[in-house]
């Protein structure tokens, strides 16, 4: 016998069923598998932070002076590059420093070929961490201690990674 009792229960049951199915579908489709290749968001933040830090050490403190990076490439007189750069990369608002590491290389043109010089690293070797590369251009005069770099524009390339 068909009767019209329990209509509200029927509607509730059907609606709850649809809700559960849709919710399950949403939950399954939302969960993105975060593989090591899918690190765009952290890469972007790391690249931005690294570029800001490198740009800051490549900015003169006041008009008519040279930046820390420029002075330290000239090495005449020697200037500490590692401490300010490391500090800029690793300082955090809350307690404890971040664990960013870096390896900085200089690239310069000699005739038609590009040569490189190791410039600075923080002592921890690079293995297979997810790294980003940030660069700055620096103009060097003819008073640098290394004559290879005289009157050249140098590409300072920093490899930055978090361990």
């Amino acid at each position: 016998m068909v009767n019209d009792l329990g209509q509200l229960y029927t509607i509730e049951g059907v609606a709850a069923g649809i809700l559960m199915v849709v919710t399950a579908y949403l939950v399954i489709s939302t969960s993105t598998v975060f593989t090591p290749q899918e690190t765009h968001i952290t890469d972007m933040q790391l690249e931005q932070l690294g570029h800001d830090a490198l740009k800051l050490v490549n900015t003169p403190g006041e008009d008519g002076t040279l930046s820390i990076l420029n002075q330290s490439i000239r090495n005449n007189p020697p200037v500490d590059f590692k401490t300010p750069f490391s500090q800029l990369l690793n300082s955090r608002i809350h307690a404890g420093d971040d664990t960013l590491h870096y390896n900085v290389t200089l690239y310069y043109r000699d005739g038609n070929e590009v040569k490189q010089k190791q410039f600075a690293d923080d002592g921890s070797g690079y293995y297979r961490e997810n790294a980003v590369k940030v660069t700055q251009l620096v103009k060097i005069g003819n008073d640098a201690s290394d004559p290879d770099l005289w009157d050249k524009i140098i590409l300072v390339e920093a490899l930055i990674w978090r361990s």
Binding site: L5, G6, Q7, L8, Y9, E12, A15, A16, L19, V22, T23, L26, V27, S29, T30, T32, E38, H40, I41, D43, M44, E47, H51, Y107, Y108, R109, N112, V114, V134, T135, Q136, L137, K139, D151, K152, I153, I154, L155, E157
Partner: protein
């Protein structure tokens, strides 16, 4: 005989409303992961920092080498060669000392950037 019990309809209705609201929130959360990923992909792809660095260096050079007569092409060769070798980008810039005009070109296969700059003093 079973009788349709119509008590507690408020509770049933509030249950419906709350579950629909949760559904909408779930849709928003589902979108946000995708948006964050695609946004950071496009931020990484666009060579903002390269273009800023080139502009900064060209403007640094404009009085001493770019607009000198003859222009100092050593610096330009440095920038062009370094960007071609290390960043796979084609870069060119020219300066016109008489009209105080600078034009900058950058192309890395995906992004093309061209700028003309003229000083009016």
């Amino acid at each position: 005989m079973a009788k349709l019990n119509d008590d507690a309809q408020w509770i049933v209705m509030m249950g419906f409303i709350v579950s629909i609201l949760i559904l909408f929130l779930a849709i928003i959360v589902a979108e946000s992961a995708l948006v964050g990923k695609t946004t950071s992909e496009s931020v990484l792809e666009f060579p903002k920092t390269d273009i800023q660095d080139i502009r900064s260096m060209v403007f640094q050079l404009r009085w001493e080498s770019l607009t000198s007569d003859p222009p100092n092409d050593e610096y330009k060769d440095d920038i062009v060669t370094l960007y071609l070798n290390r960043k796979n980008a084609i870069v060119d810039y020219t300066g016109d000392p008489v009209n105080k005009r600078i034009s900058i070109h950058y192309y890395n296969g995906i992004t093309s950037y061209n700028e003309s700059y003229e000083e009016l003093f």
